[in-house]
């Protein structure tokens, strides 16, 4: 090194001279000392140490998150693909890295690009967890006004925003859901490539979805040439769409820009799931209603209804497994529709309404109250698919003197937060209709009741995921309510006995379901139920569906392992 360039800031000399000339506004000795101490506090004396860990409050990053932060800063030099599996906290890792660069004054202007549905959540996390004054981009003028902006990639890449964003220099660009950049010929990829940036983090749980070229494209955004020229990459490393050659060498090159933590590799063992099916016998009145509805649904189906009506029949069939109130809601709508068309209420609907009136109490509710009282004071989250059931449950719980709060998708962010806080601090029960949606973390609760069962395995998994996640200290108890001799019993059998949805986390559930390709399980179930009459036959159909599920699951796992092999990191020991 010949000589190190040094930039000496001299702007202060004039200021000082002005003070001397005017002879006023001098600081005294104490203030002078306080200023030095303030400056000393902000000094970072070493390159490698991670300061951001000392400057966060309210949560403790997990060991693998700290490790990622160190590797990205000290080894990857701030350009990296963060590819942890879902649920291991890539947002936390990105936040720690960003915070570290801000503390050191290496980042003064940051752009965080995420799917539009996650803009507010990212902004909140950066504000609350990391005290980073990030704002959500809403208006065009904000690109110029704020230094830390969270924006939707789809907005940013379109004019007039595009030209505005491309005219700036960003010390760091963070892209969440970066698998959207897998194709070099897309606007997304070209936009990120054109952005002027010093550091860059790409976050994705699936760096290789379909072919190896995707990974090549991601790496090229960070460091063109890291995996060689495109043609060389094809001939050196690619044996097939998803098959690599010269694996050891490729793996090493990849590990210089990509970090992937997997649940099973790290010490991130989740607590156990304990599953209990609680069988419930319907009262004679409830039985009559169930049979009445089932017959009604079947006869309508046989009359040959269009798809839309079939969907509402499906709802009705599910509702009758949930509560009288839920059925009432749909029947009421049917009647009202009839009135509008000046038709008499059909005798079959009138019959159903009579049956419904006869039902005075709910066996499921009684069971739920019993169970919740047994578990008291432990907290319980109770899931139902239907608003009407939710309202009814809240009424019943209140009547029984059990403090309960509602939760549903329609609540705005503040109300959701408020309800979560009430649940944590005041209530014993949360009655929820919605499981999806990020930022709903209920680790302080470890009992869950499936008051009714969604017919879609993804929704079931989402429900469990609310409480069975990193940070949960206890084993999680799942209580499935199953009414004897109803379709519900079959579904719970399928989900629990046949595909073991509850006990274990099925990786790639979404992929498996997508690959099964025929219509959704919900429609499948509906048809099986409507077209077969005897129970044994239903069971047989479901059994076959379950077998296919297992085959596809196996195939997906085999394919994934081949991909994972490439992303495995082996720290060199020397």
């Amino acid at each position: 090194m010949k000589s190190l360039p040094i930039r000496m800031d001299r702007t202060w000399v004039d200021e000082f001279q002005t003070k001397v000339d005017r002879d006023s506004d001098w600081a005294d000795w104490e203030r002078f000392q306080l200023a030095v101490e303030a400056a000393e506090a902000e000094i970072v004396p070493t390159f490698e140490s991670i300061q951001s860990l000392k400057q966060i409050q309210g949560f403790d990053p997990l060991p693998h998150q700290i490790d990622v932060t160190k590797r990205v800063i000290n080894e990857m030099r701030g350009r990296a693909i963060l590819a942890d599996e879902v649920g291991l906290g890539k947002t936390i890792e990105a936040g720690l890295i960003l915070k570290e660069y801000i503390i050191r004054g290496l980042v003064k202007r940051a752009l965080i690009l995420v799917p539009s549905s996650l803009v507010l959540q990212w902004t909140r996390e950066l504000n609350q967890k990391f005290q980073i004054p990030a704002v959500a981009q809403k208006k065009g003028w904000m690109w110029d006004q704020y230094d830390f902006i969270v924006a939707s990639l789809d907005t940013a890449k379109r004019d007039p925003h595009r030209s505005c964003v491309l005219s700036k220099h960003y010390d760091i660009v963070i892209v969440d859901e970066a698998h959207k950049l897998k194709n070099r010929r897309t606007k997304n990829w070209q936009f990120i490539n054109e952005l002027r940036k010093k550091y860059c983090l790409l976050l994705t749980a699936t760096p290789v979805q379909n072919e190896m070229a995707e990974l090549y494209n991601l790496v090229t955004l960070l460091k063109p040439g890291q995996l060689g020229k495109q043609t060389d990459f094809q001939s050196d490393y690619v044996a097939g769409k998803r098959k690599a050659k010269n694996e050891a060498q490729l793996r090493e090159e990849i590990s210089r820009v990509l970090i992937r933590n997997r649940r099973r590799d790290s010490q991130l063992h989740l607590t156990k799931r304990k599953v209990k099916t609680i069988t419930i016998e319907l009262s004679p009145e409830e039985r009559a209603l169930y049979d009445g509805i089932t017959q009604f649904v079947r006869s309508k189906y046989r009359e040959g209804t269009d798809l839309k009506s079939m969907l509402s029949l499906l709802v009705l069939q599910k509702e009758v497994c949930s509560s009288r109130d839920a059925v009432f809601h749909t029947l009421f709508k049917l009647v009202k529709k009839g009135e509008e068309q000046k038709e008499e209420v059909s005798p079959e609907v009138a019959h159903l309404i009579r049956l419904l009136r006869n039902v005075r109490s709910s066996s499921k509710v009684e069971q739920a109250l019993r169970l919740i009282k047994e578990l008291s004071p432990e907290k319980v989250i109770l899931f139902t698919e239907f608003r009407a059931t939710q309202d009814m449950l809240l009424r019943e719980l209140t009547q029984a003197g059990i403090p309960a709060v509602p939760f549903r998708g329609g609540f705005n962010r503040n109300k959701k937060d408020w309800m979560m806080e009430l649940f944590q601090k005041r209530a014993q029960v949360m009655v929820a209709t919605e499981a999806g949606g990020e930022g709903i973390n209920l680790q302080f609760c470890h009992h869950m009741i499936n008051f009714d069962m969604p017919w879609n395995p993804m929704r079931v998994e989402q429900r469990i995921g609310r409480i069975h996640r990193l940070g949960q200290q206890h084993d999680v108890s799942i209580y499935n309510f199953s009414t004897l001799n109803t379709i519900e019993e079959h579904i719970i059998w399928l989900l629990q006995e046949k595909i073991q949805l509850f006990e274990t986390v099925i990786g790639e559930l979404e992929t498996i379901l997508e690959k099964m390709e025929d219509e959704s399980l919900e429609h499948n179930l509906m048809r099986i139920m409507l077209e077969t009459h005897d129970e044994a036959q239903i069971r047989q159909h479901l059994d076959r569906w379950g077998d296919t599920f297992h085959q596809v699951r196996h195939a997906v796992a085999v394919e994934n392992e081949a991909k994972e092999e490439l992303l495995r990191y082996e720290p060199t020991t020397n």
Partner: protein, 270 residues
């Protein structure tokens, strides 16, 4: 800084800023800010513009600063103050802003204060620098230097030395000042020369390594792009080159934290 240090720093800051302490509990402090502190910490310039234009009674904000959230009084709506909290960063910034330039006179020791003959004070310029070493990473250190404005003699650790004496803002009785021979600009030039020398003689292996990383990346970039390039590829390559230099190029930056004119007896600094 631990919570104890944060509290004592904050207390000193509030006192020096003339803030009124309403309540001081084991876990928190309730304070009504002075106008100056309100302007620095609350960031509400429009309010202050309004107050000053309309000539109305200013209402500085009252803050509940909590140092130990686990033990704060129930019902208190306060904000936690910890290292990394935005409010504490503002306090640090404000403290630096108000202690930037000083002119100080050595406080005479005991009986000397009443000497019959006037004693001469020599002028020194003392500067506290923050020296940052930057590549894709960054580290800093404090560097304090002083220069005798008559002889041009330079002393290291000036601030540390000054701390073993007492300083006041008014010239004590029976003391007179010797006129400086060096201008401020000349003196600063001398100090910068010394800093420059110091840095070039330091262990610069970190900078060499950063330079190597930079060159390796540039080489990789060259091998990635073919010799003849489309206009678009040419632009890509140029941009990426600039980014690599921006990311890795090693350099140092020198900033002044604060500076003062110190008038002292001969032989005070060595």
């Amino acid at each position: 800084m631990n919570q104890q240090q944060i509290r004592s720093f904050t207390e000193r800051y509030l006192r020096l800023q003339g803030c009124h302490i309403i309540e001081s509990g084991p876990a928190h402090i309730t304070t009504r800010l002075s106008i100056q502190a309100d302007k620095d910490l609350l960031n509400r310039p429009f309010y202050w513009m309004y107050v000053e234009k309309m000539n109305i009674e200013p209402q500085p904000v009252t803050l509940n600063l909590v140092f130990d959230p686990a033990n704060q009084p129930p019902g208190l709506k306060g904000e936690a103050l910890f290292f990394g909290a935005p409010r504490f960063s503002q306090i640090l910034r404000s403290a630096q802003k108000h202690g930037r330039f000083a002119r100080l006179y050595q406080v005479p020791k005991g009986k000397e204060a009443f000497a019959s003959q006037s004693k001469a004070y020599t002028p020194w310029l003392g500067v506290n620098y923050k020296l940052s070493y930057i590549c894709d990473q960054k580290k800093d250190r404090l560097l304090s230097l002083g220069i005798n404005l008559i002889s041009g003699e330079i002393t290291p650790d000036f601030y540390q030395q000054a701390q073993s004496f007492q300083w006041q803002s008014k010239l004590p009785a029976h003391r007179h000042l010797l006129p400086p021979r060096l201008s401020l600009n000349e003196a600063v030039g001398e100090l910068e020369y010394v800093v420059h020398e110091q840095i070039q003689n330091e262990d610069l292996s970190w900078a060499e390594q950063a330079q190597e990383r930079c060159e390796a990346e540039l080489a990789q970039l060259d091998s990635f792009y073919p010799d003849s390039l489309s206009e678009e590829a040419e632009r890509d390559k140029k941009q990426r080159r600039e980014e690599i230099v921006w990311q890795y190029a090693p350099r140092a930056e020198l900033h002044c934290i604060n500076a003062g004119l110190f008038y002292a007896e001969a032989q005070t600094f060595s």
